[in-house]
């Protein structure tokens, strides 16, 4: 039920975010462009794909064992849109803009299909790396001697850097805190088989 609700909400948000006025509004500032529009696109893709996960996966499981393929795709897309050059491109060049509205939801969808399959080890490393890299990004935004995006003001870049730093620390606390209140299945007996591939959520 909630999943269905979330699905329709995601479709609605995707349409809204893509509509011209909202699109231009969010792209007016670097902060809302990177921290609202782009994550919204990813989240919508994730939510929409999650509802049809089983249908999409059927028959294709062997191409995405352990979520490796889907994760790689998503990471590549995220890397691309993290480049200041691509951000500028999406504001200046309609082709980039179109690519952004297609690839980011697909990256979200591919993450939704792959995340539950990822081994817990990979999830842990990804989370640690995310926090680390957000700290580095925040540093880049705030200390760059020049504007990284020609389309945006310096103040916005500074503000983005500060917000990303806060988000990094917040995420770090969240990830750390979740270690303390998880209630995952407890394996009482030490099993002889090594764990690693095919771990469940």
């Amino acid at each position: 039920m909630t999943e269905r609700l979330a699905f329709y909400a995601a479709v609605l948000i995707l349409v809204t975010v893509s509509s011209s006025p909202v699109r231009l509004l969010l792209e007016q500032s670097l902060v809302s462009h990177l921290l609202i529009q782009m994550p919204a696109l990813v989240l919508c893709g994730w939510t929409i794909a999650r509802r049809h996960r089983d249908a999409i996966n059927r028959g294709r499981e062997s191409f995405n064992v352990g979520g490796a393929t889907g994760l790689s795709f998503a990471l590549i897309v995220f890397s691309f849109w993290m480049l200041p050059r691509s951000v500028d491109g999406s504001v200046q060049n309609p082709l980039y803009e179109f690519a952004k509205f297609v690839t980011l939801p697909f990256a979200g969808a591919s993450l939704a299909l792959s995340w539950p399959k990822l081994p817990p080890l990979a999830i842990g490393i990804l989370k640690c790396n995310l926090v680390s890299m957000m700290l580095v990004l925040s540093w880049i935004y705030t200390t760059s001697p020049s504007r990284l995006c020609n389309s945006y003001l310096r103040d916005e870049q500074d503000m983005l850097g500060q917000i990303v730093a806060v988000l990094a620390i917040g995420l770090g606390c969240l990830f750390g805190g979740s270690l303390f209140c998880g209630t995952t299945t407890i394996v009482r007996r030490k099993s002889a088989t090594p764990i690693g591939s095919g771990g469940r959520e």
């Binding site: 995405n64 795709f73 389309s151």
Partner: protein, 200 residues
């Protein structure tokens, strides 16, 4: 397992290629750097837009044919970066004189609303512009300004307090009227060497 390995390698290889392309071979992470690399590799023609200088005379890029020009974009009320640009142009002017290079300087204002002939002349006076080398001018209308800004890939944003934010640089236009190099403000030495390179 084998299918996944294959698919993952395919995605990663394709992704690496895309990222390689998107960063001009890991050299450009910002649009500004990418533009500079592209211009260096293949000079771009600049539209021959008519400009008006402080005394109302018309100036065109084609007037400079056969000579190299360094172009910068300014607005005269600018309290920060354009002052620095002016200083660097002043220094370049001295070197051009001393060296006797057949090269010129051209400052173009993009602030059509505020920069009239008087403001341009004042800026020239403050920075000691020698009209035989360094001219100041503005486009005649907004449409032609846009054409120019697009050609030089200069993006001008209002800064919210009455001024502008713009990517300031030294644009070197060769004797053939093509944009051949873009340099940082403080790279006036590199820009000067680029001017010299046009003399055989």
């Amino acid at each position: 397992m084998r299918r996944t390995l294959f698919a993952t390698c395919l995605v990663l290889a394709f992704g690496a290629a895309v990222l390689w392309w998107a960063t001009s071979g890991l050299r450009a992470f910002t649009a500004e750097t990418a533009r500079r690399i592209a211009v260096l590799a293949s000079p771009e023609p600049i539209p021959d837009v008519e400009l008006v200088d402080g005394s109302g005379r018309s100036i065109r890029l084609s007037d400079y044919t056969g000579q190299a020009v360094i172009v910068d974009f300014i607005y005269t009320q600018c309290p920060t970066i354009c002052v620095s640009l002016g200083d660097n142009f002043g220094r370049l002017q001295e070197r051009i004189k001393a060296d006797g290079v057949p090269a010129k300087l051209l400052s173009i204002s993009f602030d059509l609303a505020q920069d009239g002939p008087r403001e341009l002349s004042e800026y020239a006076r403050v920075h000691g512009a020698d009209a035989s080398i360094w001219k100041l001018a503005r486009p005649r209308n907004a449409g032609e300004l846009r054409l120019l800004l697009e050609a030089y890939a200069v993006i001008v944003l209002p800064d919210g307090i009455g001024g502008f934010v713009h990517n300031a640089a030294l644009h070197v236009v060769g004797p053939d009227g093509k944009l051949t190099g873009i340099y940082d403000l403080d790279q006036h030495n590199a820009a000067f060497l680029a001017l010299r390179s046009f003399i055989k």
